[in-house]
Amino acid sequence: MIKITGLEKYYRTEEVETIALNKLTIDVKEGEFVAVMGPSGCGKSTLLNILGLLDDPDGGSFVFNGIEVAGFNERKRADLRKKNIGFVFQSFNLIDELTVFENVELPLIYNNVKATDRKKRVEEVLDNLKIMHRRNHYPQQLSGGQQQRVAVARAVVNNPKLILADEPTGNLDSSNGNEVMQLLTELNEKGTTIVMVTHSEHDARYSHRIIRMLDGHAVTENILI
């Protein structure tokens, strides 16, 4: 599903140039659950941004679903992203002014899904994730665990092929964290490919494979299954 070869990314300021990704090569197969680990600044978030089509690589190749996307413009990337990729962030990133229902509904709106279908689909997802009773609440009225459930609901509502999770349990206590990991595992079992960046060995153990990074390289791979 994902094939990156010799991927490069630099960050430049006036004085220094930092290499974030240094000729990185990784494959992720469809249905896989991959955890990316490494110390701060090793390039794992940069990798996730590029995988999520939020950022451009400076060199190398990125084939997504058989299509080379490295040179895509903003509009094409947005289109590909909204149809195929769901995101889960450490800080949830829900929109404060929208209710739970409206937050989850947002990706469907941008995918031009009809209102009646949207309602059905959002309710289905909220029901599955057991937060239906909170549908009319605003994010600030929910606990961290509940907020992350909403974020997961928003990520999956569109039935994406790929979910990218950036330290999804980083802001949660262990029991809420475990619940979220459980949710991701279930999604993966139903066929969704997941790439997760994490610092937690415990969370990483939920995955099939751990890629360890250092200074923009993939240094080792642990295959768990």
Partner: protein
């Protein structure tokens, strides 16, 4: 999508109450000021527009060698022109001034008023112009001794009775005449011609009705007192007709006075088509433009508030932009969202502005001296322009925020990497400087206008108008006993202890002159000097004393001299300016030389020091003082104590000798300052507008300051922990803004100076 965007926009407004308040109230104030001024501009543009034939009607003007124009022409030209030129289909003449007098209901003497808004007009007045005749038949106006009343005029004399068929008696310089009321008409608010009573000019066609005033004959080509309008045939080139009229005048006018005819399109009578058009108008294009520009500036200040506050606030929205992009929003959809928000805020501002306009309309009308309302906008294309401008402004002000917000990179916004301090700071600072430069420039300009007005009102005019009460001379009962009664009245008056000075005259300072004429020369005159125009003031022997106008040389008129018949008189006084115009080396020189007025020789017995007979804005005119016992104005200087008692006493005496004449009085100084009424109105309007602008700009600055404090909370905390006092923190926060305001003052001062000069 739309619903979702609307929801977000609305909830954002609700959540950020302070920003929303500042944004919306600033916009509402800006739009309200804009709408009010738009009302005024569209009113000014609409004046006279209701006349159906406006595009084919032209006003005849005189233009002298100095390029000054005026609409009073000799009455004989209209008929001569119509006979000579085929393209002149019709003409209509009316006068404003010479017919003024006292009007009385023939069956009710207590309905007696001195009329100013009245005049004689041509029989076709109601066909030529498009006033709506509500009662009676317009054709009746072609007859002599007929009067038509405006609704206000009808109400004044006949209250709720039907005036048609009743009659009014008019006392004026043409004697006493009875007029039958044959019609009532309405005057639109946007009409320049505003008669309460219009008498048929046909009456004056009979020389017997002129009371020996031969100068007023309707076929004469020598006395300029009537307005003449021509209706030209379709497709006629009025410039060609103008040339023909000039030739006609040159051919028929015996005394060469250097005047040429001009035709002014009726559509340009109120406001000229451009600034290069120097013909006399009834409105002032300059003020319309200045106010229009002020309206746009105030609106710009309000929009800058919007841009400033929304870009400042956009950091709060950054993560929302990030999330939306991540879940699939394109830049286009985000631009639409933020533009929509800007439109929403502008729409709420607009609705609030409508409410605000309703609230402050009476105050505005009071300042501008007109009856305007939002309704006056509807009938004029100006409002479409205005609405278009509002829409465009909301889009442009929204567009900046929309594009800058939608450009945010989700990677940065979601990780909070956005540079908080630098984003848009330069723009915000420049806009604040711009806003305050405008506001301060307006304020400075207002102060300068105010000072100038103050100067005009308090400047030494060379004449003392204080404590002077003016009574208009009687018109009713000017029979054979009149002259006796007038003498008795004066005798009675002068015995009153509260009278310090008194005078009879044909004009008073502040009320213009009796007339202006040319044809004056002295032996040393050059060719062409006879074309120079001189103003006539008819005065008695006490005028100079009463108005405390000093003599420069020679002597004043004697009482005997003021009693000499007009045509037998050979003595005049001149002011210094007239001496200069005539080309005399000195006042003494003038006293030794006789001057020529066409065929008449006149002796200059005195030279009067220059004084301002009219507004200070006007250069001092050359004046010829002519001795007569003209009783148009009685000027009385009263002692200061018990003024009301003195006036009551005056009324009793006046009524004793001049029964049936209304007793009306006013103070000469107030009357003089009435010339500045337009300047006073505009000065008040500018003051209000600049205060308005400052309030809006301060609202925005307050919003920005709040924003700054919010973003610097952490810094303030750290400083406090390290021992900073509240004072030093206040100083720290105000410093940046004070700097901006200081820059604005530096920019604004020369602008204000330039605008003023």
């Amino acid at each position: 999508m739309f619903k979702n965007n609307f929801k977000i926009a609305f909830r954002n407004l609700k959540r950020n109450k302070l920003y929303s308040f500042i944004n919306i109230s600033g916009l509402a104030m800006g739009i309200a000021a804009f709408l009010l001024i738009l009302e005024y501009v569209s009113f000014e543009k609409s004046v006279n527009g209701f006349h159906k034939n406006i595009s084919s009607i032209y006003r005849l003007l005189n233009e002298n060698t100095k390029g000054q124009t005026w609409p009073q022409v000799e009455p004989g030209w209209a008929q001569k022109a119509k006979e000579s030129f085929a393209e002149i289909k019709d003409y209509c003449r009316f006068e404003e001034g010479v017919g003024q007098g006292i009007v009385q209901r023939s069956d009710k003497k207590d309905a007696t008023f001195r009329e100013v808004n009245m005049g004689y007009a041509e029989g076709n007045f109601f066909q030529f112009f498009s006033f709506n005749v509500l009662k009676g038949n317009a054709a009746e106006f072609k007859k002599p001794n007929v009067v038509f009343l405006s609704e206000a005029g009808a109400k004044k004399y006949f209250a709720n009775e039907n005036p048609v068929g009743k009659s009014l008696v008019l006392f004026n310089q043409f004697g006493k005449a009875t007029y039958s009321v044959e019609g009532v008409f309405s005057i639109p608010a946007n009409s320049d011609i505003r008669y309460d009573l219009v008498f048929s000019l046909e009456t004056l066609k009979n020389p017997a009705n002129l009371n020996d005033n031969g100068w007023a004959r309707l076929d004469n080509l020598s006395s300029q007192y009537i307005n003449t309008y021509f209706l030209l045939s379709d497709g006629a080139d009025y410039k060609k007709t103008e040339q023909k009229l000039i030739s006609l005048r040159n051919e028929l006018k015996k005394d060469k006075d250097g005047i040429v005819f001009r035709l002014q399109p009726f559509a340009n009578v109120h406001l000229p088509a451009s600034f290069s058009d120097n013909y006399q108008t009834t409105g002032n294009l300059k003020y319309v433009y200045i106010l229009g520009i002020i309206a746009l500036l105030i609106l710009a200040i309000a929009w800058f508030n919007y841009i400033n506050l929304s870009t400042a606030n956009s950091l709060k929205r950054a993560s929302e932009v990030g999330v939306r992009k991540v879940v699939g929003a394109t830049q286009q959809s985000l631009v639409f969202q933020f533009l929509g928000e800007s439109l929403l805020v502008n729409c709420i501002g607009f609705v609030m502005a409508l409410v605000l306009v309703q609230l402050i309309q009476p105050l505005f009308n009071d300042i501008i001296g007109k009856e305007l309302s939002l309704r006056s906008l509807i009938n004029n294309p100006v409002w479409i322009m205005g609405l278009g401008l509002l829409l465009l402004g909301s889009l442009v002000s929204g567009a900046y925020t929309a594009f800058s917000l939608s450009n945010f990179k989700p990677v940065e916004t979601l990780k909070g990497k956005l540079n908080k301090s630098a984003k848009g700071a330069t723009l915000r600072k420049s806009l604040v400087v711009f806003q305050f430069s405008i506001s301060i420039a307006l304020l400075l300009a207002t102060a300068l206008i105010y000072r100038q007005l103050n100067y005009m009102q308090n400047q030494n005019l060379g004449v003392n108008t204080e404590q002077l009460v003016i009574i208009r001379g009687p018109e009713v009962g000017r029979d054979s006993t009149y002259s006796q009664r007038r003498t008795a009245f004066w005798n009675d008056i002068t015995q009153q202890s509260f009278i310090k000075d008194y005078s009879l005259s044909g004009t008073i300072p502040g009320n213009g002159y009796n007339f202006a004429t040319s044809g004056f020369t002295q032996p040393g005159s050059k060719k062409g000097d006879e074309l120079k125009s001189y103003s006539f003031a008819i005065i008695d022997s006490r005028y100079l004393n009463t108005y405390q106008i000093p003599l420069k040389a020679g002597r004043n008129f004697t009482e005997a001299e003021t009693g000499v018949e007009w045509n037998d008189n050979s003595k005049v006084m001149l002011n210094e300016k007239a001496i200069e115009e005539l080309g005399f080396a000195s006042a003494e020189d003038a006293l030794r030389t006789k001057i020529q007025w066409d065929e008449r020789q006149l002796e200059v017995i005195g030279v009067v020091k220059n004084y301002h007979h009219t507004s200070l804005q006007r250069a001092i005119d050359p004046i010829i003082f002519y001795p007569q016992n003209n009783s148009a104005y009685f000027s009385l200087r009263l002692s200061t104590n018990k003024l009301q008692n003195s006036i009551a006493k005056l009324e009793t005496i006046y009524k004793r000798y001049f029964t049936d004449n209304p007793f009306e009085y006013y103070f000469a100084d107030e009357n003089f300052n009435r010339q500045y009424i337009t300047e006073q109105q505009y000065s008040r309007l500018f003051t209000t507008a600049s205060i308005w602008a400052i309030i809006i700009a301060c609202l925005g600055l307050f919003g920005l300051a709040t924003y700054t404090v919010e973003t610097r909370t952490k810094e303030i905390g750290v400083r406090k922990v390290l021992g900073a006092s509240v004072f030093t923190i206040t100083q720290l926060l105000s410093k940046d803004f004070l700097k901006l305001v200081c820059i604005a003052i530096v920019i604004a001062s020369p602008i204000a100076w330039y605008v003023r000069t």
